[in-house]
Symmetry: C2
Subunit: 266 residues, 2 copies
């Protein structure tokens, strides 16, 4: 994610919605796209660049940005040309957290878990059909294994992904996974059938462990958090070095599953 030749980090129109060509776009949608775009790029963006990145007319973009800045949803970043998320969004976000028991307690649980084990710990959820790291706490290893909050990762790349889909039928699972999602960062391909098998196994065992999927150096232990019997609302997971001993892995898994079960009571 270095600065470079205007990489968009954006699916563009290709995502599936057909656009009747020379048609107008609702302001609200433009705004939603802007927010997504900022989220995807995780940095302040110039207004011109924003317009370009979203295939939006410049004039419209200027207008909308001005309105959003006035409303406090966006803020002009230091140098005065770029925009990024604003304080209001932070306040709304905190309000969401306060109103959401699972999230609030889950965050705490993740924090204490990573403090007690020293390993990186995360709380994950499905967000509009994508795997999302909702909260993470770094652990204290010299090489911190970190992935930013809010990051969205293809479901098949993760242990949590297997748990989050537990209980869904084959059709639904297929609907949530694209062809691309099945290709790992290193190029290897996961077979859809294997993935679905894994989901079934994860469901009955009540946990999931994957090794060297997103990268070659880490192992991922995940346990489900239920919002209702059978309904996986979230997962807690630990990201540990891939050479962690069987024994320690087992211990960690036990603690993890206890904590996740505790969260489930709700």
């Amino acid at each position: 994610m270095q600065d470079g030749e205007t990489q968009t980090g954006w699916p563009g129109e290709g995502a599936g919605e057909e656009r009747p060509a020379g048609s107008r776009e609702k302001g609200l949608n433009r705004v939603l796209n802007m927010l997504e775009f900022l989220h995807a790029n995780q940095r302040a963006i110039g207004i011109g660049e924003l317009a370009k990145g979203l295939n939006a007319p410049r004039s419209t973009t200027y207008t909308l940005v001005r309105e959003l800045v006035e409303a406090g949803l966006l803020e002009m970043a230091g140098d005065g040309n770029r925009v990024y998320f604003g304080k209001k969004l932070y306040l709304y976000g905190m309000a969401y957290m306060r109103g959401n028991d699972l999230l609030r307690r889950g965050r705490q649980e993740v924090d204490t878990l990573s403090r007690e084990t020293g390993e990186t710990s995360e709380l994950c959820m499905l967000q509009s059909g994508r795997y999302t790291i909702v909260h993470s706490s770094p652990g204290n290893r010299p090489f911190r294994i970190s992935s930013a909050t809010g990051l969205q990762i293809p479901l098949p790349w993760t242990a949590s992904g297997r748990l989050l889909l537990a209980g869904l039928d084959r059709g639904r699972i297929e609907a949530m996974v694209t062809e691309d999602d099945l290709v790992l960062p290193d190029g290897r391909k996961i077979e859809l059938d294997d993935f679905i098998d894994d989901i079934g196994k994860a469901r009955v065992t009540g946990y999931c462990v994957t090794s060297g999927l997103v990268d070659a150096y880490t192992k991922c232990l995940a346990a489900p958090v239920f919002s209702a019997p059978g309904k996986v609302e979230a997962t807690m997971c630990l990201v540990v070095p891939i050479d962690t001993s069987e024994e320690r892995t087992g211990e960690l898994l036990t603690v993890l599953r206890e904590r996740a079960a505790l969260l489930s009571i709700s």
Copy 2:
């Protein structure tokens, strides 16, 4: 804030914007109002109630809410009729926090400060001309003195308010304070001149202490956090029982000011 006869918690049209009567309202504005309304009420709201509370036509409200729910900015709350903030807002909010050094470090500082002193501690900022509690950490007193994050309070009611306005000229200060803001919850009235005097004093001393303003039982100690020399970006404050001894108050103030100064370096 009990459930009761549809209290709006909303200024209505009266806020100052003149509406040309039978005119149409932009969708985006309606959305911004909805978010503010939810924030003001701090709870899930029924769609009908939302429409009523905002003087918005029901049909429009239904449409917009549906779009926002699809986008993840709002979520249908448990019982299936009410809406509240959605996960996306949380994610955007966290992204804001990550991108904002002062906020990130300020939160930490507040947390440790309240852990070390045992008192309630807060980080406050100006948000669209209002005093806002951006982060607070409860302390460990039996009667927790708590005020929710995101709460907006008239500037003259608080010690922080006096610091946040330090450096502004009289005209600007007057512009930020309404007649109502000068009336305390218990009915007492603050003179504008006294308030402005306080601001001046706070500016030179570099801290501010108020007693029994918002309520009769607490004292509020505040210290400024600077983003640039002379520019107060935020305040850190401690809320303590009003009968806290001179001596302890002094000690707390010293610690508080040190911490706030540390934050200022930025």
